[in-house]
């Protein structure tokens, strides 16, 4: 596919990673479809994307509405003839103990993140099949591989997104041209932390040093060019995914002790639904300034220490496991 030959759909395009993706794709693709709830934010973004040379279709749609997402796909092909890349990125977050957060908020997180992704998948796959190809990119998270205290809805939905992608990848094996990718970012500097629902009573701050959203967007674009099964973004999330695979128990304990403490500031806040039901009236932007703040600098040392500790721990555990199995095998072979 040559320059500006592709058509791309991005959900959750009004802010954060989705916005960064839209801006990057706008420089390279012929048609761009922007999906989010906030019409005004999308219009403003569309103008910027058109300035970068792409034609833009705007869809002010909530991804929890399956029929509306179907219509977005139908509109996209009616307008551009094709959809080559579909990025399921729209997501919300909710902080609070599992038993304490209101059930309707928990449901809403899964509806937006997991059902929303599912709606995108089912909307675009028939068109992919008809045209004989296409790349589906689902934005999951490191929390698609490991758990996290006070974020059960988010982690469960991100695990679900990864599983959904794995299943669909197996289903579309009959069509060579279709690829399914799962992108796994760690903490990213986006408005997500500020607009999340929060039932913890404390202000949420990103754990460790968040990576810029543009870096995730770059990974999404690489997937669009050269699809891969799973793509962790950044060294920390690569280490996190690896550690969660090698030593899941250890990562769980470390997460509960260290990261759980880091994620919340000593600042009381009232419970909030965040942007779960109504989009926030701020934060229609890529970043939220987390990388430049004092908080970030303070935590950088802690993050490095933590990363090193996780890796060392994981290495120790895997080494001891390997030793056990090899001894076991020897004994079994001798018998």
């Amino acid at each position: 596919m040559g320059k500006r030959d592709r058509v791309v759909v991005v959900t959750g395009a009004s802010s954060g990673i989705g916005r960064a993706c839209a801006l990057r794709f706008a420089e390279r693709v012929g048609g761009l479809v922007l999906v989010a709830r906030r019409a005004a934010a999308l219009e403003e973004l569309a103008t910027e994307c058109r300035g970068r040379g792409s034609e833009v279709l705007v869809a002010a749609v909530d991804v929890t509405d399956a029929e509306a997402v179907d219509r977005v796909a139908a509109q996209a092909v009616a307008r551009f003839g094709r959809v080559d890349v579909w990025v399921n990125n729209a997501a919300v977050n909710l902080y609070g103990r599992t038993e304490e957060v209101p059930a309707r908020l928990w449901h809403r997180v899964v509806q937006t993140n997991l059902f929303g992704t599912y709606h995108g998948v089912r909307a675009v796959l028939p068109w992919f099949r008809e045209q004989g190809g296409g790349t589906l990119i689902n934005v999951s998270s490191v929390l698609g591989h490991t758990g996290f205290p006070q974020q059960s809805a988010y982690a469960a939905s991100k695990h679900g997104i990864r599983a959904l992608g794995d299943c669909v990848r197996q289903e579309v094996r009959d069509v060579d041209g279709i690829s399914v990718c799962t992108v796994l970012p760690g903490p990213v500097d986006t408005p997500l932390f500020r607009v999340a629902g929060n039932w913890t009573g404390r202000r949420v701050v990103p754990p460790g040093q968040p990576v810029p959203a543009d870096r995730v967007a770059a990974a999404v674009l690489r997937c669009a060019d050269r699809p891969r099964r799973e793509v962790p973004v950044g060294g920390a999330s690569r280490a996190g995914v690896l550690a969660a695979r090698i030593a899941p128990g250890l990562v769980e304990r470390a997460g509960a002790r260290v990261l759980g403490r880091q994620h919340f500031a000593d600042e009381a806040t009232a419970p909030t639904e965040g942007n779960l039901f109504e989009p926030a009236d701020f934060g229609a932007r890529v970043d939220d300034g987390w990388r430049s703040g004092v908080d970030g600098r303070r935590r950088r040392g802690a993050k490095a220490l933590l990363g090193a500790g996780l890796l060392l721990g994981a290495a120790l555990v895997s080494a001891s496991r390997a030793a056990t199995t090899s001894r076991g095998r020897t004994r079994w072979a001798r018998r």
């Binding site: 040559g2 058509v7 012929g30 749609v61 003839g81 094709r82």
Partner: protein
């Protein structure tokens, strides 16, 4: 459960293809139309004379307006067949060979664009009673514009695919080089079909028809159209510039679609994209909710 219930209303109509659904097969048809008066005058023939128009037909009549696909210069209905086959899932699709081309009769002297349009107007009233949607590809776009102006009541809507020729390029000198560039975007299969059709038509006829096309002023004619118009351009089309289709759109107040990656001979090389765009346009003007304009979705 009926097979149609397996297909979701907004999904592509061909896929996933439920078991038991058979793609419409192609049939040939032959229509005889009176030769246009201007041509008879030029030919010096007083007596009524008729032209034979052969063509292809897919699908069956449905609530949807019939779709008529008109091919481009030198080629014939085969060139639009891949698109027609897809569109035929929803209703009747017709593609005539223009007089002098393909397997239609070979009137001499070579008819001009207006005469081809007149013949196609009579062909249209003979063939379908319901107002049809006309899709003109390349040179065919000039002919469908002509038909729509001659008999607006018979035309539900117009689609101009890769419309030619723009004012700054209305000379052989400016066309030949670009035409060579366009050839480079064609697949070998299309080139084989093209060679065969050129042989049937004869190079002299192709040259004379194109001379007549160079004298046309489509930008003036589209201003008089009173039906919905869609203009469709492939982003990899060296013959049709983006500014020209924008100018056409401004003149007729229609819609403009640029298909990323599509070439000039879209009806053969990008049939999936073209049929989706045409079907989407038809759904919009017919006010069908399935793929119609959604609240919150706009270009």
């Amino acid at each position: 459960m009926s097979t149609s219930a397996l297909v979701r209303p907004t999904g592509p109509e061909l896929s996933p293809l439920p078991p038991g659904v058979v793609l419409p097969s192609v049939e040939e048809h032959l229509v005889t139309v009176p030769a246009p008066a201007t041509w008879r005058e030029r030919a010096g023939r007083r007596a009524a004379e008729s032209w034979q128009l052969r063509g292809l037909r897919w699908g069956v009549r449905s609530v949807r307006p019939p779709i008529v696909l008109v091919h481009g210069l030198g080629v014939a209905a085969r060139m639009v067949a891949p698109t027609a086959r897809r569109l035929a899932v929803g209703g009747l699709v017709l593609a005539p060979d223009l007089p002098g081309y393909g397997r239609s009769g070979k009137p001499r002297p070579v008819p001009r664009i207006g005469e081809l349009g007149a013949a196609l107007t009579s062909w249209l009233t003979t063939t379908t009673a319901a107002p049809a949607m006309l899709v003109g590809v390349s040179l065919g776009s000039q002919i469908v514009i002509d038909v729509a102006l001659r008999n607006p009541a018979a035309v539900r809507a117009l689609v101009l695919v890769s419309p030619i020729v723009e004012p700054e390029r209305r000379s052989w000198r400016r066309q030949l080089w670009r035409w060579q560039q366009e050839q480079a975007t064609q697949s070998l299969r299309l080139r084989a079909i093209q060679l065969d059709d050129y042989r049937r038509a004869g190079l002299g006829r192709v040259v004379r028809t194109f001379s007549s096309a160079l004298a046309q002023r489509p930008e003036e004619k589209v201003g008089r159209l009173r039906m919905p118009v869609l203009i469709c351009r492939g982003s990899r089309d060296p013959l049709v510039s983006a500014s020209w289709v924008r100018q056409l759109r401004a003149r007729c107040g229609g819609e403009l679609v640029t298909v990323p990656g599509a070439v000039h001979a879209m009806s053969y090389e990008n049939p999936v994209e073209l049929s989706r765009v045409v079907q989407g346009f038809l759904d919009r003007i017919e006010g069908r909710p399935a793929a119609g304009e959604v609240a919150g979705v706009r270009a």
